[in-house]
Symmetry: C2
Subunit: 409 residues, 2 copies
């Protein structure tokens, strides 16, 4: 980083630029893993700037909207608009284009669900991307299936990661229930989180024991519109029109900005935790334990989540101290032993409390002391700070990569 910064400043000086944003970008832009295979853009350069390009011959103004900032593109003589962002953090970011006032997905990107919408995402290659890369190792399976929830009175979609070997042996496995963040859904950990590849690689390296991961939709409002349970594109469960957005305050992206997960700090509808808790214990855990080869006790059950999902984990564990032995909160605040009424009973079965934040998040300063509190009462407290990342997926991929090896040892 140090040398890169000096290089950028030198470049700025040589080109007469006054600030970084005015410096000509380094011309080593390449397609990214999230660029559609048949498309040439978006691209990213070694400074981690995003370059987009789109033909829009009749447009008056085209902008790239990423990280809460809008960057004007420039039109060439063929009517193609091209431009770059400032350097972005390594990892995954949501973004969009703005064409004469219309906010639209970039036709060159792949699409992800986040900030309460399906839209463009971009992968900024990271120094440590090897841990979630696709490799020639034994692969587990990411299974999409459906089950009936008595709590929501509907058929719900769930994703289940089964580790390599699950189909060939007859062992029973421990299970991690892993939750997404606000405005995301059950596709997040597989699509942008690469939870399956992170586990495949950890297991291949002998760094994690194999376990099952269950990913469901934690954005539930049992009193109003069902949020999230509708799997897209399928007749039979069309959600009632409207209402959903207004029933769940704090879900929208900031007006006029690119969607930012948890921009301004996570805001959580506290009802979500209690309502997801009902689905979890009434329907989801019983479904998993009767349909997969699972060791169905506290010692072999973990829960974790990012942002809102970690807050759900936190409040569900406090309310149900006899259900999980491993607790993971990624960018979700801190958890203190003082919140558990019967700590002597809790510490007999609870093995690890893990808290993490991106280094650019305010919470990162507090988790070290919070982890120590746990270690003092006899439960392994672990804190992790993701270097040079904020409230974003690279922090959470790294958090899973740190958390998984601690489980079920």
């Amino acid at each position: 980083m140090k040398y890169r910064s000096i290089a950028v400043l030198l470049t700025a000086a040589l080109t007469g630029g006054i600030c970084l944003a005015q410096t000509a970008p380094v011309e080593d832009f390449k397609k990214t893993p999230t660029t559609q295979q048949e498309k040439e853009y978006p691209q990213v350069n070694s400074e981690r700037r995003v370059r987009v390009s789109i033909p829009a011959p009749e447009a008056q103004r085209v902008q790239l909207d990423i990280g809460g900032v809008k960057y004007d593109l420039k039109k060439d003589e063929k009517g193609v608009w091209t431009g770059e962002s400032a350097p972005q953090d390594e990892g995954f970011h949501y973004y969009q284009l703005n064409i004469d006032g219309a906010s639209v997905p970039d036709p060159g990107s792949l699409y992800y669900y986040g900030a309460s919408r399906w839209g463009s995402g971009i992968e900024i290659p990271a120094k440590d991307q090897d841990f979630y890369a696709l490799k020639n190792v034994p692969h587990g399976q990411l299974r999409e299936t459906y089950y009936y929830s008595t709590a929501t009175k509907s058929v719900r979609r769930v994703y289940i990661y089964t580790p390599p070997g699950y189909d060939k042996d007859s062992k029973k496995y421990p299970v991690l229930y892993l939750q997404h963040g606000m405005g995301e859904n059950e596709t997040g950990w597989g699509n942008q989180g690469h939870a399956n590849l992170i586990m495949d690689n950890l297991i291949a390296e002998g760094k994690s024991v194999p376990f099952i991961i269950v990913m469901e939709n934690g954005s539930v409002n049992l009193n109003g519109m069902p949020r999230g349970p509708r799997p897209g594109g399928i007749p039979g469960q069309v959600a009632p029109q409207g209402g959903a957005a207004s029933a769940a305050p704090g879900q929208g992206a900031p007006a006029g900005n690119a969607p930012r997960m948890g921009a301004g700090g996570p805001r959580v509808n506290v009802n979500f935790a209690a309502q997801f808790e009902k689905i979890l214990f009434d329907d989801l855990i019983p479904y998993i334990e009767s349909n997969f080869r699972v060791i169905g006790d506290q010692s072999h059950r973990a829960m974790a989540g990012l942002s809102m999902g970690g807050m759900q984990t936190h409040s569900i564990v406090v309310a149900n101290p006899d259900k999980f032995s491993y607790v993971g909160m990624f960018s979700s605040g801190t958890f203190s032993p003082s919140e558990i009424k019967d700590i002597d009973s809790f510490k007999k079965k609870t093995k690890v409390v893990f808290m993490s934040f991106g280094g650019r998040e305010g919470g990162s300063a507090r988790i070290g002391a919070a982890a120590e509190e746990w270690t003092k009462v006899g439960i392994q407290g672990v804190s992790y700070v993701s270097p040079e990342t904020a409230h974003e997926w690279q922090s959470w991929r790294r958090s899973l990569h740190e958390f998984a090896p601690l489980l079920f040892r």
Copy 2:
């Protein structure tokens, strides 16, 4: 249809409209299963017109581009552009928006891979949509995993449908290898085809025996750029820049039109069949038969595909008459017993040759006679014509729904 047509004409007469396109649409528009849950548009009305709406206050011209036709939208005083298409066929269609010359996905839709791009798709509710609806029945699993191909020297993504009960019993199952069309990939049959739900429903009704379905990417060019094998968004297998499009003629959407699968009739790069054949026999079938509980003989192996995928099925079966017992060609031309050298040997193991077309496709007139040829030589020949559909997914969903009950009896 008759009454609807009369009603439309009456409406046209009453409003003074001269042709259907100028008639005011019936105002019963509703969100569709492919509208994002948090969004209000796109919508469809009882005439099967598509209405889109997008804020674009500074735009000069906004169009809806669907079925090869561009429809001008109108701007209201708030800068929101809204407009409708002519009635569309029931079922699934790719589309896009055009904003001041920029072709972009509709920010309100879900996204699908077809016409060699990820982009907007819309579901026009069909009279017979119940057969692919999400119901409270036992559900199979759609499994995403990866395996190493010696033919492409890369890790490839494959989707595998396992029927309800697969995880609980220890039976071995027959297998259908099911291929997508030109410009589509291994996600097509699950995402827009709903193959998993079609099977779940057929099995629940006792109309099909349970079997495994394998869905891989048939767009392969072993001599040039690997096409399709890169699963999106994952580091480790970024395809080389460029080249891919030029290596595969006939893949692009017609310039300036919404992507139409096989518009102008399917054009197939014949190499794709021979090259996918190598992956299929060298890598995919061995992987499936050693990792799933499969009956690995000709009698329990079927192959089918839509458009290009059916042509691949056709040529692979002709070249390998001892590998499959059931053959399905959906919108893929005709297959004649005269193409098989040793018909006496072929008919000992081959049970069904199934050919289908949408009723609006030219080929639909020829498949009845082609099916009869098979029946005459002692193999069950079956033809199916999908009512009032063209070269599109509703034809192929219905074809699978007709084909599956014939298998492995």
